[in-house]
Amino acid sequence: MASLAEATTRTEAAERRRVRPLIATLPAVAWLLAFFATPLVIFAVYSLLTNELYAVGTPFTLDAYRDALTSTLNRTLARNSLEVGLSTAAVTVMAGLPIAYWLRFVARRSRIAVLFLIAASMFASYLVRIYAWRTVLGSRGLVNSALDRAGLIDQPLGFLLYSRFAVIVALVHIFLPYVVLVLYAGMGPLGEGLLEAAQDLGAKSSLLWRRVIIPIMAAPAFSAFVFVFILSAADYVTPQFLGGKDGVTLGVQIQQNFVGVGNWPLASATSFLMLLAFVAVFAVGSFILRRLKLNDIRLSS
């Protein structure tokens, strides 16, 4: 017989099979089945149908997928999306880690205030941010004016706006607060005692980061990374306003296919191919994490 104490506590929770409370989830479940699952399924089916200009019809065909995969434009746009997505994710996570670290281990009385500010900035409207960056990065905007006043440039820097750079900057602005909060929350296990114990055992800064902080933060950082990657790669509004010609992404193309051109199957096929790519990125990343045994570090049950 297993140790009774552990077995009792462990299986007591599992044993108490209470199904009845689940009834309370029915309204929400019904709503999502009707307005989330079903539409997605229909949308997916559309990718297999024939294009009939703002409509679809039988017969079933793989034309849409073929068109989506063979189009060179799509390949360029996919590359753009990938670049935008990965860059945004990388920048936010790499900036987010030191900020989260600061909040957790360096801040004293300013911690609550900074947390408040960061959380508050999440509530700034999406469109307002895009507009704000358009102002700041413009040829007579803040950055160029300041550089001009300081005598550092003669002509306004063109690459700042209507470029992939601008898109990435705006997306980083949008997602950074979220990433910081997720990483800060993920630092929970890094209790005060843990770092002190490591230092007591001789770990100096770089080792501390390499052996303690980064392994514990790997999983939350990864999920933040993937979340930001997916949302920024699929964004279709920011590129429209800040991307110019080089900054067009797949999301814009999908939107235009659907609303502008009216080729619904193509829009759908492209969407699901993009989704497939997201899943692949997530799967690869999870696999790597699991191989490195970083996927689920908990310090106490």
Partner: protein, 275 residues
């Protein structure tokens, strides 16, 4: 530990805060610019743009629509979400997992998918696009965010309190009403405010499912699309103020919530704190 010296993280944090707020501050600043210019230098202080938009009927309609949609969405999410959170946290069966997956799935998909698929649904079922379709879409989008907060709040409660309620004669409904709810209502209200803010600000999905009426983000979008209209600064600033105010209220509610409820569990002998 606090107070360690760490110049690099400190510098990055300061830079990040500037990065986050300076662009927004500039928008607010220029909303008071007397000329329509969006470039430096700043001409002079004026509130004419605010007058202009407040007089605009289209603007007022958009605000009212956004508020209306937001209120409906917040209320329905409050009900649906609280019920779902209760079900998820109080049940213990393997059935819980697929349900939880379904309920949280919208978080993982970009708004593009949600918007397009709903547009497809509505066209298939031949429903006209309107504020109603916007509400439907928003409820799908907002629900997982509400659930994240509500589930966390319900899980943090000490289960012994609910057992005590049952022991003293309260059935499941009374336990919820007299023991659980009094403790979590501030957090739930904060989450509902968040739902309102998310809906108020939503654009990506709304773009696809909106009908002839406009919401405030749509109004801003179409204004931006046209010429560079300086009134956008004023509109944007107003929007910023509204959502930030909502956030502040929600923040205060959450702080209050963790104070009056028994959400923190003591780990040392209570007698040692005897007064």
């Amino acid at each position: 530990m606090q107070g360690r010296r760490a110049p690099v993280p400190t510098a990055i944090t300061i830079a990040a805060l500037l990065f986050l707020f300076v662009p927004l501050a500039i928008v607010v600043l220029f909303s008071f610019n007397s000329t329509g210019s969006l470039t430096f230098p700043f001409a002079g202080f004026s509130t004419r743009w605010y007058h202009q938009i407040i007089e605009s009927v289209a603007f007022r309609d958009a605000v009212v629509n956004s508020a209306f949609v937001g209120a409906v969405v917040a209320l329905s999410t409050l009900v649906l979400g609280t019920l779902a959170a209760y079900g998820l946290t109080r049940a213990s069966t393997r059935l819980r997992t697929p349900i939880a997956v379904l309920l949280f799935l919208p978080l993982t998909l970009p708004g593009l998918f949600l918007g397009l698929s709903l547009l497809v649904l509505f066209s298939r079922v031949e429903v006209n696009l309107s504020l109603g379709t916007v509400m439907i879409a928003h409820m799908v989008y907002v629900l997982p965010y509400y659930l994240l907060i509500a589930v966390a709040a319900l899980q943090r409660l000490d289960p012994a309190l609910e057992e005590a309620g049952a022991d003293l004669g309260a059935n499941a409904w009374l336990v919820f009403r007299r023991v659980t709810l009094p403790q979590v209502w501030p957090v739930l209200l904060a989450a509902a405010l968040l739902a309102f803010a998310l809906s108020f600000d939503e654009f990506i999905i709304t773009f696809f499912v909106i009908g002839p009426d406009s919401t405030l983000p749509l109004f801003i979008f179409s204004t931006l699309r046209r010429t560079v209209d300086p009134s956008v600064n004023a509109i944007s600033s107003l929007l910023l103020v509204i959502t930030l105010a909502l956030f502040a209220i929600a923040f205060v509610l959450t702080l209050r919530g963790s104070r009056t409820s028994g959400l923190s569990i003591e780990t040392e002998p209570i007698g040692s704190a005897a007064r």
